[in-house]
Symmetry: C2
């Protein structure tokens, strides 16, 4: 018999408890031994929980129980999540988590502690919810040098951009709708400003390279400034607008991008997430699915429990990243829009730009690759109404 | 030092040798020991091969070398591939393969032999080339009950259908082009008739359920009868036409299907492959990438070598399948086309059918779900010009 504890009886914790219960026979067969949920840690009493008899309020009960071999930390946030995970690893218990903040900030420390104590720290659920994403990078595709990752890693912003694209909704209306449907938090800033996606691309890059950066060093632009008129113009020109977390040519960034309809990422709509990986032998691989929600996230957390109990290899021990390259040198094609009166000036400044059907009263084009520095200089010479990056197929 | 042997110096074998050479440092780091390619078995001498010094003509040399711990069988076909694999497993060597015919026909025997001899038989490359597909089913998503698989599993037919859809090419012209580009064999029948896709859906279903069927029992329809006019009509109605291998509601089948543009599978174009899996917790997950080619296939074969050398769990031991359910009861919506003169008769026979823009001179509709038996009865009453299955989003 193997015993599991879950820290946190919220949405994800409840999903994990349900999966361990409903799929118990299958999970036990995978592990080769009965797998039992022994504790759920929560500060609340929750007498109506189907697992009320297993709720404890004191983490020490779990930590000091030698029967518990795997702990799922699904509390979220930095503290006490980090402290619980660290104590569990030091006590020789495997830790699995959906906590992207904790992995992104403390991944080097926690994976180091795991290695030092002969256990593992696994975090498949921290990026892309239920999508197998981290294990493919660390195992199936690990013999490849992964040299590119482009991810739609935040369901809230993708839902908003999909509504703007399909129905011409404004950002504000689409956000309000996402909040009403429970896809966006009451304070949506971590999603809308790209903070959530930034943590996830940091983790994915860490899995591909072994190096985890300080996520505040990653250049990040959210979607609040994206105009419906730009999304519409992009659609007419053959592109979808998506918030991408990217690892490309040594750069890391999060920003809204135009993606050509030829690229399968462009068809990742609504709350779905996807990541397009490029490996030096496998070429392009895309992994797509539900990036959030109790059941999809539970699938990844419980999958990690099984991996821990079976002793699967393929865990990374992160190193702390050195400085990222100067972002001013990052180069890609651009979608630029200016007032109609500035069209001639813009075209003179950007040779080779391709004119497209613009927002009303404006002039818009897709440019050849331009660096961030070049766009900054351009802004001083002409008043840009919109400037978005383009991710070519 | 770990020693590897490759059986077959063809396209895939050469790709594997290249990957083991070019990515040797990375692969050795993953395994924790230097990994070395010791032998390539081929009946030819191939003095110009970069690995000419490692070519042997006698399988016994490999079989009897106790240093060889993993053998990659990339010969293809049933024999001698099966015989070599069986001998290797009995000699206590892991076997990895890209050979879908061998896995689909002899998978139960070979996985049984592996288990009996304390080694593993792995075959990630047998379905979907470089796409992580089998390991996600057997590991990452294994805690889910996988209750649906819809796969675009054959690049040749997908290339042909993509050309017919995008450019209005005829089947014959698209096939000739595929042959010219090296995407189709001179004898394309195994691809065009769905035999290749049938083997692959059999293997994927086996991974999801543990049960491998006799693949000749799987109802299979190829793409030779698909008319460009139907592909065009489907496109105007909001559907792509794709050859799908399906596991759904207990049924297994291979047949061309209309897929709505809302479904991400519908955007899998050209030689790319994809599979949409449905798990009872994770929901929909799609895995997409290159389904063939030396490098992509090598990525999967070498990934399996690493898994074997690291001792990763997640291997299936297949049982032989019982009889499949009566296919006459299989039910799905249909695309039907008749001569314009038969429109009224068809509509009278199929209440609730939705009329769509038809091929010239015909009448076409999308029906509510109809069983195979119902369509057979319909054929006796009205002359169907086309009848294709529809896979709803």
């Amino acid at each position: 018999m193997k015993h599991i504890a879950i820290l946190g009886h919220g949405v994800v914790g409840t999903g994990c408890a349900r999966m361990l219960t409903e799929n118990r026979e299958r999970i036990s067969a995978l592990v080769g031994e009965d797998v039992s949920l022994k504790y759920i840690l929560d500060i609340r009493d929750l007498p109506d929980s189907p697992w009320a008899d297993r709720i404890v309020h004191d983490f020490a009960v779990i930590l000091n129980d030698p029967e518990v071999s795997v702990i799922a930390e699904v509390i979220g946030g930095a503290h006490p999540a980090f402290d619980f995970a660290a104590a569990a690893l030091k006590a020789g218990k495997h830790v699995v988590t959906s906590n992207k903040e904790c992995v992104s900030r403390f991944g080097a420390e926690l994976t180091g502690m795991a290695a030092a104590n002969g256990v593992t720290y696994r975090f498949e659920a921290s990026c892309g919810g239920g999508i197998p994403l981290i294990r493919p990078i660390l195992s199936d595709l690990a013999a490849n040098r992964i040299d590119g990752i482009d991810g739609i890693l935040n369901g809230t912003t993708n839902y908003i951009l999909t509504r703007m694209c399909r129905d011409g909704s404004s950002f504000e209306a689409a956000l309000a709708e996402a909040q009403q449907k429970g896809y966006a938090e009451r304070d949506p800033s971590a999603d809308v400003e790209g903070i959530d996606a930034r943590r996830k691309i940091n983790i994915l890059c860490g899995c591909a390279t072994g190096v985890l950066h300080n996520d505040e060093d990653i250049p990040t632009e959210g979607i609040a400034a994206v105009r419906t008129a730009d999304v519409t113009a992009a659609g007419l020109a053959g592109y979808a607008v998506k918030l991408l977390g990217r690892m490309t040519g040594g750069f890391l960034l999060v920003a809204p991008h135009l993606i050509p309809f030829d690229c399968p990422l462009s068809h990742t709509d609504g709350v779905f997430n996807a990541a397009l990986l490029h490996g030096n032998f496998v070429g392009d691989v895309m992994l797509y699915g539900r990036g959030a929600g109790a059941d999809a996230t539970a699938s990844a957390v419980v999958g990690d429990m099984v991996a821990a109990l079976r002793g699967d290899s393929g865990c990374v021990t992160f190193a702390h990243g050195a400085a990222l390259p100067d972002f001013g040198a990052f180069t890609c094609p651009r979608y630029l829009s200016v007032g109609a009166e500035d069209a001639a000036a813009l075209l003179a400044l950007v040779p080779g730009a391709k004119t497209i059907e613009p927002p009303v009263g404006e002039f818009a084009c897709i440019t050849p690759p331009l660096s961030e520095d070049a766009v900054r200089v351009l802004r001083q010479k002409v008043s840009l109404r919109a400037a978005l990056r383009v991710r070519e197929a």
